[in-house]
């Protein structure tokens, strides 16, 4: 099986020049991929490589400089043609730490003041979930392009409001589902579409960790602010913060959203005052009767994280980057034997030769999807796409649809667990 891929370029090496060269190569790949119809969000990457002139520079402000915001700073500092012009955080220690990393950036405690800053092209929102909608809507109103971290929003109504506002604004919108730009996931999609695993008959995904999922809090009064993921007023916990990634991939690979879901969740281990479930189990049903089975917990990490895309001919484990054939191919002599019997021939089965001292055990471990596994999970490429789209002044096609589908999915799952009933896809939802 040919597992080489045009997407197998690595993003290792951190230099600016390296990244520029990588993006140049990526532009060629993006322009030639046969999968582009299914990857409309790759189109900004086909743009001509960015130069050094001030006209090419995109000025971005980051709202929320916590863990994820800091990771984005690292990537944006190495993304050609991007200037981090402003940072915003209402938690002073985070803001100061961020400003120390980004020379010349202006600091804000209130994002609305940052939106008023002249010359700012776009914002990157890495704030707690419950603030996403408000910040997106205000940014669109202020005429800014928006990169919003996942999950899209805290409620389905808010997801709808963001989609509506974006439709009217004509601005670039991007969601932080980086697997849409991961070379490994693109290769997985290519193999699925080439029929390597046959029809997708089930997707199983999980994200398991073993830890309390808490940040250290210097003062009890900051508990909700710094550990917002644990409290229901700010987050839906495992569903929005982890499951949204794999639900985005599931919807993408299945080419649609689920029609309904049902699940159970509970707090069965970390009984420390948190309000969000520490274990969740949800099954999603799609119109063609394919199911996506999802579970997540934070009291065991043996299985880690994975999304298994299954079909009658094979299984893809996209996080591990491997493809497992359902049935190892028989040796040529056996194939000849089977053919002969089926067609009524009485032929000699040829054996011997070099294959008769086989050592094929490694095949039980599957085939690598790409041989040169990139060190980037798609985040760096996705930020380059965002910057390019702003430069081109064109919205990223297909992006809001992916954001809404994943965002609504996880909220359906949360509702199902909380209400203990099956929840249908909101038919009135307009992506």
């Amino acid at each position: 099986m040919d597992c080489d891929s045009s997407f197998s370029s690595s993003l290792d090496g951190s230099g600016h020049a390296h990244r520029r060269e990588f993006l140049k190569r990526l532009a060629i790949v993006a322009g030639s991929s046969t999968l582009l119809a299914e990857l409309p969000w790759w189109s900004p990457l086909r743009a001509a490589p960015v130069g050094d002139s001030p006209a090419d520079r995109v000025r971005i402000g980051i709202i929320g400089v916590g863990t994820r915001g800091n990771l984005h700073i690292s990537h944006l500092l190495r993304t050609p043609g991007v200037e981090i012009a402003a940072l915003c955080d209402d938690y002073e220690p985070h803001l100061q730490a961020g400003l120390a990393r980004v020379k010349g950036a202006k600091g804000f405690a209130d994002y609305r003041q940052m939106l008023d800053m002249p010359g700012l092209d776009g914002v990157l929102i890495a704030s707690p979930l419950y603030l996403h909608a408000r910040m997106c809507l205000d940014a669109f109103s202020a005429g800014k392009h928006v990169f919003c971290e996942k999950s899209l929003a805290y409620t389905i109504e808010e997801c709808q409001a963001i989609a509506n506002a974006h439709r009217g604004s004509k601005k670039v919108f991007q969601i932080g589902h980086q697997r849409m730009f991961s070379p490994v996931f693109l290769r997985a999609l290519e193999l699925v579409r080439n029929g390597e695993i046959g029809q997708i008959t089930q997707i199983r995904a999980y994200w398991h960790r073993n830890g309390n999922w808490r940040n250290a809090v210097p003062d009890p009064s900051l508990e909700h602010r710094l550990n917002w993921r644990l409290y229901r007023a700010y987050s839906c916990g495992l569903m929005t913060e982890l499951a949204s990634h794999h639900m985005q991939v599931a919807n993408w690979f299945l080419g649609t959203h689920p029609v309904s879901c049902a699940g159970y969740g509970s707090i069965n281990y970390w009984k420390d005052g948190r309000e969000v479930y520490d274990n969740v189990n949800v099954v999603y049903r799609y119109a063609d009767n394919t199911h996506v089975v999802y579970d997540s917990l934070i009291s065991n990490r043996f299985y880690g994280l994975e999304i298994q895309i299954m079909g009658p001919k094979g299984t893809i484990e996209a996080e591990a980057g491997r493809l497992y054939a359902e049935n190892p191919p028989p040796a040529p002599g056996i194939v000849q034997l089977i053919n002969g019997i089926e067609h009524g021939f009485f032929d000699t089965v040829p054996i011997g030769g070099p294959s008769w001292v086989p050592d094929l055990k490694q095949d039980t471990k599957g085939h690598y999807l790409v041989h040169d596994k990139p060190t980037d999970d798609g985040t760096a490429i996705s930020l380059a796409a965002f910057a390019n789209a702003i430069r081109l002044g064109e919205p990223i096609p297909g992006m809001m649809e992916q954001a809404c589908r994943a965002g609504v999915c996880v909220l359906m799952g949360q509702a199902s667990m909380e209400q203990q009933k099956e929840i249908a896809w909101p038919e009135e939802f307009k992506e």
Binding site: I341, H343, G353
Partner: protein, 325 residues
């Protein structure tokens, strides 16, 4: 699991074929069943794979927690009682060692390591090193306590390797199970070097199996017609299964502690999978003049030795010895 529907264009005979392959015992196992309901065939394949994996766990020297590793690690220090299945296997190996006058030997691992290490560096081990390694080999240095069912190594550094026995043993067991389940026709193959058939080919009186020229795989050198029989091949090749070069033929002659030379294969057909497996190696390391005497103590077998001679830069196969044909 796969029910092969159509692999070739043209009209099918209507004979239903079920095929299952899996990786087990360090090789690819294939099972072909014919004229059988798919559900039944699948159930048999699942059971077969489960049994083969159990055999692998029992006999593999590469499972650090397995009973063979226990033995290799501790049996020089004290008598070890292996699980009953492994005791049975070791006892069988001892019997076959006697019946082949030491030509079949599961204790050659120290010599294997010595040669692999030296040839990997492009040199031969010294005579002294070979002599020392030979002191760590030989069935006479394996002490069996029949009453306690324990095994003890008489020297430090001894190590057993069931690689030349396990596949034949597993095939013989599997064939017995399939027969017990009423299976009358089957083709079972371990990496094509160990084959067992039940009954005959659905369109002929036997299962014809051709030993191909290893340098020209499209050319068959000899064809065995198997009916309720097993076929095992051992030998040396200049390349590994991927076509890459091999430094070491891997078959050690226990009589002198050296790897056998040249490119040769020995294929043995026997009603017993174990005997085919044992004899394919034992005959290869036994001088031609002694082979007839060696096989006279076994059930009806047929055997072919193919030797590859270099001729104007080409390797040409020749049937150098045959028996029972």
């Amino acid at each position: 699991m796969l029910v092969v529907e159509t692999l070739l264009p043209g009209p099918a005979s209507g004979t239903k074929v079920f095929h299952h392959s899996c990786f087990v015992m360090n090789t690819r196992f294939s099972m072909v069943l014919v004229e059988m309901d798919t559900e039944r065939a699948e159930a048999l394949a699942i059971a077969a794979e489960r049994d083969l994996r159990a055999h692998e766990r029992m006999m593999s020297r590469f499972d650090a927690e397995g009973p063979v590793s226990d033995l290799n690690r501790c049996a020089a220090e004290k008598a070890i009682q292996p699980p009953e299945g492994l005791w049975e296997v070791l006892s069988l190996c001892r019997d076959y060692s006697k019946r082949t006058r030491g030509a079949f030997d599961i204790t050659l691992w120290p010599l294997n390591c010595l040669w692999r290490e030296h040839l990997g560096r492009g040199e031969e081990p010294t005579g002294k090193a070979i002599k020392e390694a030979r002191r760590q080999t030989g069935f006479k240095r394996l002490h069996f306590d029949e009453a306690a069912h324990t095994v003890r190594f008489q020297r430090e550094g001894m190590s057993i390797d069931l690689g030349g026995f396990g596949k034949g043993y597993a095939l013989e067991r599997l064939a017995g199970s399939l027969r017990a389940h009423g299976v009358e026709r089957a083709f079972l193959s371990f990496g094509e070097s160990s084959i067992t058939v039940l009954g005959s080919h659905p369109h002929g009186p036997a299962w014809p199996v051709g030993i191909t020229n290893m340098f020209h795989p499209s050319e068959t050198v000899h064809t065995f017609h198997l009916h309720n029989a097993s076929l095992s091949s051992s030998g040396t090749a200049p390349f590994n299964h991927l076509g890459g070069p091999r430094a070491f033929g891997e078959i050690i002659d226990p009589h002198n502690g050296r790897p056998i030379e040249g490119y040769r294969t020995m294929s043995v057909a026997s009603p017993s999978g174990i005997e085919a497996e044992v004899l394919s190696t034992a005959l290869l390391v036994t001088p031609e003049r002694d082979r007839a005497a060696l096989v006279s103590g076994f059930s009806t077998i047929s055997a072919v030795e193919i030797v590859y001679h270099s001729n104007a830069g080409m390797f040409v196969p020749r049937i150098a010895w045959k028996y029972g044909l």
